[in-house]
């Protein structure tokens, strides 16, 4: 019997077809997979069986376009498990989550720091208020605590800096203030519409990303094949969202370096793009646009003309502003060589999305595990090698232009409107499905497990921020504390996507 089962993106398999390994074999198999840079862990989670804990580990292979699934069953009372993280750091966040939720004690995990103080955590007595932050005792050093209330009143998170003068020695990030129990809500809310709306609310800036991951997963679970109209709408929404958020981020980066012209021009350019969602589906965040097995808002030829006109106006202004900023010495002085994530760091923490792509890792679901129309695009990920704030600014610029090209190509022939779509059949029983989507921030992974009646037994969500928050903490080391905001903005990670 093989150690694993290899599946494609959005493929539903029977739960029992996942091989169950002894924990020692499970550990050595999965950690040895990661020694190949083409492999990375997309999800590793546990869910309780009557008297055991079942662990499922999903490793994606970017070259062969497969996802290798393996599992193990352990007794929670067994208090001396060796950890994956001791072998490869990329597992650290998943094992911390397993430890927090089920009380699994690892013998050699580097730092079992709580992830989000989930409501159903194993140890109810430990609260965020009494969390002991990492400390260094020295007369020379001082601590600066920022948050949980953000200076710009965005989302809550606590940042604890240990500084030597103006220089950051260590940054500890503690999140979890926004925990809403979304994964449990997915199981408790039985209606498809409720779950669809929940998926839209995972992270407000990645509505298209998370909802696409959910509907692809759900349709696969129901054995439904999305027609070209549905696939078209999802792909278009994903790319529009990428353009809108990237442009907004460029504006925010300019704000943080106090470059007023860039801040206001990019800010103005973002607005028509997100307003297009309003025209299309009645919501600027694209809520209500993507539904499993349905599309209430057909993308008509008229909308295509509007969108073409929008980009005709957008591109010259955008290009002019970008040419301005890429040659402005005072802006480059702030962006270049600030907040560097090295290739080694990005590999070791399993970074995804822009963080990985700017550190020289070619990791893009659109290319490696394509779904929807991406299968026809032959997408070439944009890869940068310096890993600094400027790389993360450049990649946004290039991805915006690339997405505009894709959209211009797509709107040449909008799909025919489909009426009388077949209804979704009920989800298959005893199944496991995994769905990967490249949101603008990076790879989004949703997993679902159904029980014998085809009811959801367990739902797992992973936002790219889960991997990348550690990249931020590493990037700011030895930088000036006054450069932290610009580093943070260049990653633009999600708080609620992490807290769930």
């Amino acid at each position: 019997m093989s150690d694993y089962i290899a599946i494609k993106n959005n493929e539903t398999i029977l739960l029992e077809s996942i091989p169950v390994l002894r924990y020692e074999d499970f550990l050595s198999f999965n950690t040895s997979l990661l020694s190949n840079e083409a492999n990375h862990c997309v999800h590793y989670f546990g869910y309780p069986l009557p008297d055991k804990l079942k662990l499922i580990c999903c490793i994606a292979n970017d070259e062969e376009n497969t996802i290798l699934i393996s599992s193990s069953e352990i007794k929670v009372e067994l208090n001396s498990l060796p950890s994956f993280s001791a072998q490869h750091l990329a597992f650290h966040i998943f094992e911390r989550e397993i430890h927090e939720n089920f009380g699994v004690a690892y013998t050699d995990h580097p730092w079992l720091k709580p992830v989000r103080y989930a409501f159903d955590r194993a140890d109810r007595n430990s609260t965020i208020g009494q969390y002991p932050f990492y400390q260094i005792n020295s007369e020379e050093l001082h601590e600066v605590g920022v948050g949980p209330i953000h200076a710009g009143v965005i989302e809550p998170g606590h940042f604890r800096f240990i500084c030597n003068g103006e220089q950051i020695l260590h940054l500890e990030i503690q999140l979890g203030y926004q925990h809403r129990g979304i994964e449990n809500l997915f199981v408790r809310k039985k209606k498809l519409l409720q779950r669809n709306i929940l998926a839209e609310s995972i992270a407000g800036d990645t509505v298209a990303g998370h909802t696409t991951a959910f509907v692809n997963l759900w349709e696969s679970l129901c054995g439904y094949t999305a027609d070209d109209d549905l696939q078209y709408a999802r792909t278009l929404a994903l790319e529009l969202e990428r353009i809108a958020i990237h442009t907004g981020d460029l504006s925010a980066i300019c704000t943080d370096i106090a470059y007023q012209l860039g801040s206001s021009v990019f800010g103005r350019l973002r607005t028509p793009v997100i307003n297009f969602f309003q025209v299309w589906c009645g919501n600027r965040m694209a809520k209500g646009l993507i539904r499993a097995g349905k599309n209430h808002f057909h993308f008509s030829g008229e909308l295509a003309d509007q969108l073409r006109k929008l980009f005709d106006d957008f591109e010259p202004d955008y290009q002019e502003m970008w040419n301005e900023i890429k040659e402005l010495p005072s802006a480059l002085a702030r962006l270049e060589k600030t907040g560097v994530v090295t290739h080694e760091q990005a590999v070791s923490i399993g970074a995804v999305g822009m963080t990985a792509k700017t550190a020289g890792i070619k990791r893009d679901i659109r290319a490696s595990h394509p779904h929807d129309l991406y299968r026809q695009f032959n997408h070439q990920p944009i890869v940068k090698h310096h890993g600094d704030v400027y790389s993360r600014t450049q990649i946004r610029n290039e991805e915006i232009l690339q997405s505009i090209d894709y959209i211009r190509e797509m709107i040449k022939n909008p799909p025919d409107v489909h009426i009388n779509r077949p209804p979704l059949s009920p989800p298959k029983p005893d199944s496991f499905t995994l769905s990967l989507t490249e949101g603008w921030r990076g790879e989004i992974c949703h997993c679902a497990i159904t029980n014998g009646n085809g009811e959801l037994l367990h739902y797992k969500i992973k936002d790219p921020s889960m991997h990348n928050w550690l990249a931020l903490a590493l990037a700011v080391r030895n930088n000036e504390i006054s450069d932290f905001p610009i580093c943070n903005k260049s990653f633009d990670l999600s708080y609620c996507g992490h807290d769930l």
Binding site: H142, E143, V144, G145, V146, A151, G152, E166, C254, T255, D256, I257, A258, Y259, Q260, L261, S263, S264, V265, R268, L328, S330, A331, A333, R334, T338, E480, I481, S482, D483, F484, P485
Partner: protein, 304 residues
Amino acid sequence: MNILSLILILCASLFFTGIVIRTKSILSGRKGPGIFQPLKDIWRLFRKGAVYSQTSSYIFQIAPSIYFASVLIAIFLIPVGNHPGIISFRGDFIFFAYVLALGKFFMIISAMDTGSSFSGMGASREALYSLLAEPAFFILMGSFALLTGYSSFYEIFSALHFGSSISYAVGFLAAIVLVIIALIENSRMPIDDPKTHLELTMIHEVMILDNSGFDLGLILYATNLKFAMYGALIANFFLTPGYEWYYSIPIFIGVQFVFAITVGIIESFMARFRMNHNPQYIFMLTSISILIFLGVLLILGKIA
């Protein structure tokens, strides 16, 4: 008429920040608030009560008033053309620098008094940058004292005659130095971003994070006054003694306008410096001042 300069500076302080903000708004394609909006905000603050943290002492409560008073006293020393300031004595430019430093000292210890890690950080930055800007101011004023043979603002500016091309060059450099000192002392771009909401990158703003109500109003108004005060110092370079008031007043107002618009333009079209580049930039001022000093020596014929 000794009170003329005080009146003019007070008037300029009313519209100065408004013009800067308006310039920035227009340059970013917006309409922007009215010119008196900053003043209205200060008036709103004046009618509010202040909140004091339990951990802070009386230092925190008296510091804004001392700061405001120090700026006001410094303004008393500024002449306008023919008219000396309210106070004028030999060596008053040294008094000017240190009375401002006294106000700043109180702001710094009041920031430390709050016990907030942010305020302390801002205080250390502000102290460092003022420290670095100080030599530039003294070399500049010292050079003019040497050139004219006097040591008070009024006498120096009265005796300042621009004749040769070197002296015009010296005057131009001096205006640049004063503009940049004004930007540093008022925590404007490219040293500090007055608009930011990010505590970690602030300098002056983060020091006054704990101040509220009336105290905050005083500090903000003192900033406006300081701007107008530096504008007045710059204007003095362009006011040739002997001009009647109906010449000097329009020149004064004109210089203030140009100064405010310059600040607005600088803040619109460049990014802020990285914090560790600031000392270098500020220290550059000292080298310009030394150039002025050499220029003065040339004019006096002390060096060939």
